[in-house]
């Protein structure tokens, strides 16, 4: 299924290790021998138990951390260059909006840093608010919004400059189950509409299965790629969650995760 040509790759991770506090008593090997290629337009989830280094891997792709060995290539350039070119948008577990900025101004922040004119920024943030279905909330302050709404704003902010890559670190982890399922569908819709590549960190088996075209299963410390589960469930709807094929895939992911425990 994942027959992507090398030149179309959004992210190539090649022999990456990440060691924290190397040479000191609290040295931790977070990731070891990671090889992974993510094709352009793919939706890939990274799943694993807490502390398996999935967030670290995401930060290596975003050049918020540098690998101890190996290299990370994003759209054919080193991750560092991709960050400087602002090739990706990032969404965190907590929306991380700036309290003192109105919702629209939060979405416009990356555009402001890129020197966009006021009119262009306003037009784009209005467009983004429509995309995340919050058209009437541009003038509100983040604190006036619920957690789910804040997370939509955060997604709108990450997409405002139309990056080809979206890095998401457990973005729905702090939401209640109802909101979470709703947001998953919204995210898939946005993914289809924008054609962006998504790398999505989660520790939820159903979430990873529901969202992704591929689920990358990581083993606990030191983090290794244990297996990659291809998920082909066609277009997702709320009915997908009750589809036996969905359960079968979720079971496959679960067993891949369990295989780690036995191995460890």
């Amino acid at each position: 299924m994942s027959g992507y040509v090398e030149s179309e790759a959004a992210v190539v991770i090649d022999g990456v290790d990440k060691v924290f506090n190397a040479g000191s008593l609290d040295e931790v090997t977070a990731l070891s021998g990671i090889d992974l290629t993510i094709g352009a337009g793919e939706f890939v989830s990274l799943i694993g138990p807490s502390g398996c280094g999935k967030s670290t891997l995401l930060r290596l792709i975003g050049d918020l951390l540098t690998p101890s060995t190996g290299k990370v290539t994003v759209f054919g350039k080193p991750a560092h260059g991709a960050r400087l070119d602002q090739d990706y948008g990032m969404v965190f577990q907590h929306a991380g909006l700036f309290d003192w900025r109105r919702v629209a101004a939060n979405i416009e922040l990356p555009l402001e840093l890129r020197g966009w004119s006021r009119a262009d920024r306003a037009a784009r943030s209005a467009e983004m608010l429509d995309l995340v279905k919050l058209p009437d909330f541009g003038g509100h302050y983040p604190r006036q919004l619920s957690g789910g709404m804040q997370q939509r704003v955060s997604i709108a902010r990450a997409l405002s400059f139309q990056p080809k890559l979206l890095l998401m670190d457990e973005p729905f982890g702090a939401l209640d189950e109802m909101t979470r399922e709703h947001m998953q569908l919204e995210l898939l819709r946005i993914w289809r509409e924008t054609g962006t590549t998504v790398v999505f960190v989660t520790h939820s088996i159903p979430e990873s299965t529901f969202l992704s075209s591929r689920v990358v299963v990581l083993s606990p410390r030191p983090g290794r790629i244990n297996s990659i589960v291809d998920v082909d469930l066609g277009e997702r709807t709320d009915d997908t969650r009750e589809d036996p094929a969905f359960f079968a895939k979720a079971t496959e992911v679960r067993e891949a995760l369990r295989a780690d425990e036995v191995g460890a």
Partner: protein
Amino acid sequence: MKGGRTLRVVVTTIVALLLVVALWEGYKWMGGQTDDHWPGTSIELPTSTDDLTMPHATDIAGELFEEVRDGRARLPLYLFLLKKGWYTFQEAAIGFSFGLAIGLGLAILMLRWRVAERGLLPWINVSQTVPLIALAPIIVTWGRLNDIPDILSISLIATYLTFFPVAVSALRGLQSPDTAHLELMRSYAAPWRTTLFKLRLPAARAYLFPALKLAATLSVVGAIVGEISIGTKTGLGRAILEYAQRYAVSPERLYASVVGAAILGLSVFGMVNLAERLVMKRTEGVERADRVAA
């Protein structure tokens, strides 16, 4: 809503003022009845309640309208205090501004270079252990030797008190953004300066304002102490010093000038409060539109 809030503040202030006056007069009356003892005991009151130690509140208020000499002119005491207070206010305002600039500058310096934080912070702390009374004459003498006007020297003394809370709280505020915010700015490849202006400084405001209120009242204290310790010819400090020497003749006058100093302190406090409301109102007191669409 807004008018109601102002009215509430005014009413609270008046009630608080009346309460203080009532306590003052009540204590004085009690002392008069019991010959300065706690009722029913032989324990003496901590202070005597005679008219020299504790003049009547009405006498203090009345004193404000008595004529006093200001150079060759004669004018009511309240106008005289207002004039002197204005002078002291200017010194305090200059001192406050310097303190704000120096405190912020130091905080940014310490934020930018860890070495600066390790090197400067102990000295900033030590600076506040030097008694102001000892420092003031040094600053003034040094100022006069270098042809710096006294008003600036006094402002510098106020600065010495004000920069400290500003530096310490601004540093905390600048360091307050959490990792996710900083990572976000990093993901935008934002240079240090941009992160400072777009993230760190706005985030620091909530930490800065409580310190600025403290700094504002400290700047008045600094200015008055400065005036007293260098023997300047004008300002509230001078008035307080003069009336203290004539306490035995008219204690009301000293009390009135102390009330004047308190009012000056309260006004600068109020000004910072107002500034805070103007700057911060945009994010506070807003109603939640919770769960409308989520």
